[in-house]
Amino acid sequence: MALKVSYVKYGLIGTAAIGPIMVIATVGLFVFTAPSPAELYVLMQMMSPTISPMLGLVAIIPASLIAANALVGEREQNTLEPLLCTPLTDRELLVGKVLSSFIPSIVLLLGSILVSEIATISMFLIAGFQPMLFPDVAGLVLLLTAGPLMILAMNSIMILISGRVARVYEAYQVSGASVMIFILPMILPMLTLDATGGIDIEAVWLSNIITIIIAATLFVVTWALAFSRFNRDRMVSLV
């Protein structure tokens, strides 16, 4: 059965809230228990490459769920046929469906970043410390470049899958498996931590660049696949 709008709405807000809650809990723990400002700043710098990608990950999960529901949900609701009868081209339909899952996901991602930054600055000020960004600049660059690219790549492939399965739950199962592929590059910055928990800031930027390149490649490949394999006939034959 297709997802009810209210379930989707609250589910997404709940999922998106996990990221900021994690950030606020981590930052709060360090800010209010740190023995000195110097140690706090070092700790925060170390934590940023580990925690920042989590905000991106929690935005990819709702994106995949909305996209998985996009076409097969219409089919289960019996509204796919009238939609396919409109003069929309395959490309317009694909882009429309991708955007309808991309927009809420990107809003959730940006909202998570904003809430995390405001909460971090507020906690630093309350504790009497010089405020800092968390996610830091490297984390923000990663989230604002690789994040949207990953979401778009994930969405396009999920829309394609959504048009090729008969039931919403089949789409969810495939999305669960696919999301792992898209999550992996996002955790690359976590690998920049050495055995002692120290961090090499140059390695962070390098891992960011590698992640962005992987995200861009996935984006191009998945969109090319989606445009070439999008098939109205197959979608209708499954009705």
Binding site: V5, Q77, N78, T79, E81, P82, L83, L84, C85, T86, P87, L88, T89, R232, D233, V236, S237
Partner: protein, 316 residues
């Protein structure tokens, strides 16, 4: 240059694996007519409609809809066709209001934004749904949802309306209302209707041209009245009698010019060859055997008779 009819198919074929759903169908529907495609469930009616609306791509052959080839120009075909899918009342967005359902599709059909409110009001008023415009579509009755689905198909003023079983799942009153709407729309907007149905009386009441399809093949097509007269050379008569129906039936059956006899509660239905010559003989025989005749009247040939005749002929 040959002038094609509004809908013309050329060897239209669709296979699903080994199943031939539509088998080299050649149809011709002139502009402005109400065309009925008749056939039992699984005959290939819905697949034909889906091919014409470009939802499915033909395995072989093609069709030209108002000058546009369904394979070469699918977007143009979709622009000029309005489609009411099978069980159309289930194909609306239940969480949107009546108005929102139409507004959404008006935008998808590229209806100019400034014309959308006026267009929706006109259609909802015509379908007697204007008072329900702010109600959630999911709260409407089956008949009203079907009317809403019809409104959606009409929004962009299509030249051709493809209606798949427009009255299925409707109660008799709602079905009658939909039939009246089709006739009203045809009269008011001069559109071409392509209606799928297995409901023979409905097609008989509404369509001026028909085709019969079975197992994916067209068995016959033409003007409804002409086909009825052409195929039903033998006439059927209802003889209402007082007395023994079985005795009346056996008297009729004993006549060599009587092809078929069916006994009903108070009458027998007889199919007679050359009725001008033979009716009086049959009537006399019945009277001679003491049967009182209350009524001896010609039964109007129905599409059901025609349909059975054609299918019987094919199976033979």
């Amino acid at each position: 240059m040959v002038q094609l009819d509004e809908v013309t198919t050329f060897g239209l074929t669709k296979n699903f694996g080994d199943l031939v759903a539509v088998d080299h169908v050649d149809l011709s529907v002139p502009a402005g007519t109400i065309f009925g495609l008749l056939g039992p469930n699984g005959a290939g009616k819905s697949t034909t409609t889906r091919l014409l609306s470009t939802l499915l791509r033909p395995t072989d052959g093609t069709a030209v809809v108002s000058g546009f080839d369904i394979i070469e120009s699918p977007v143009q075909v979709r622009e000029i066709t309005g489609v009411l899918p099978e069980e159309g009342n289930h194909t609306i967005y239940p969480s949107l209001t009546t108005y929102e359902n139409l507004e959404y599709f008006a935008k998808l059909y590229d209806v100019p934004v400034e014309n959308i409110p006026e267009r929706i009001e006109e259609l909802l008023t015509f379908m007697e749904l204007w008072e329900r415009r702010d109600d959630k579509a999911g709260e409407l009755s089956t008949g009203n949802r079907q009317r809403l689905a019809l409104c959606r198909a009409m929004l962009h003023r299509p030249k051709i309306l493809l209606l798949d079983e427009p009255t299925s799942a409707l109660d008799p009153i709602a079905a009658k209302r939909v039939r009246e709407l089709i006739l009203g729309l045809s009269k008011q907007y001069k559109q071409t209707f392509f209606i799928n149905s297995h409901n023979l009386p409905e097609v008989q009441r509404v369509c001026d041209r028909i085709a019969i399809i079975d197992k994916g093949k067209i068995l016959l097509q033409g003007k409804t009245q002409e086909l009825r007269s052409k195929l039903l050379a033998k006439q059927k008569f209802r003889i209402r009698v007082v007395g023994d129906i079985e005795k009346s039936s056996s008297i009729a059956k004993s006549m060599n010019f009587v092809e078929d006899v069916k006994g009903e509660v108070d009458s027998i239905l007889v199919t007679i060859e050359d009725p001008t010559e033979n009716n009086s003989t049959l009537m006399q025989s019945l009277l001679n055997d003491g049967i009182k005749i209350v009524e001896f009247a010609e039964e109007e040939a129905t599409l059901e008779d025609l349909y059975l005749e054609v299918v019987k002929g094919r199976d033979a």
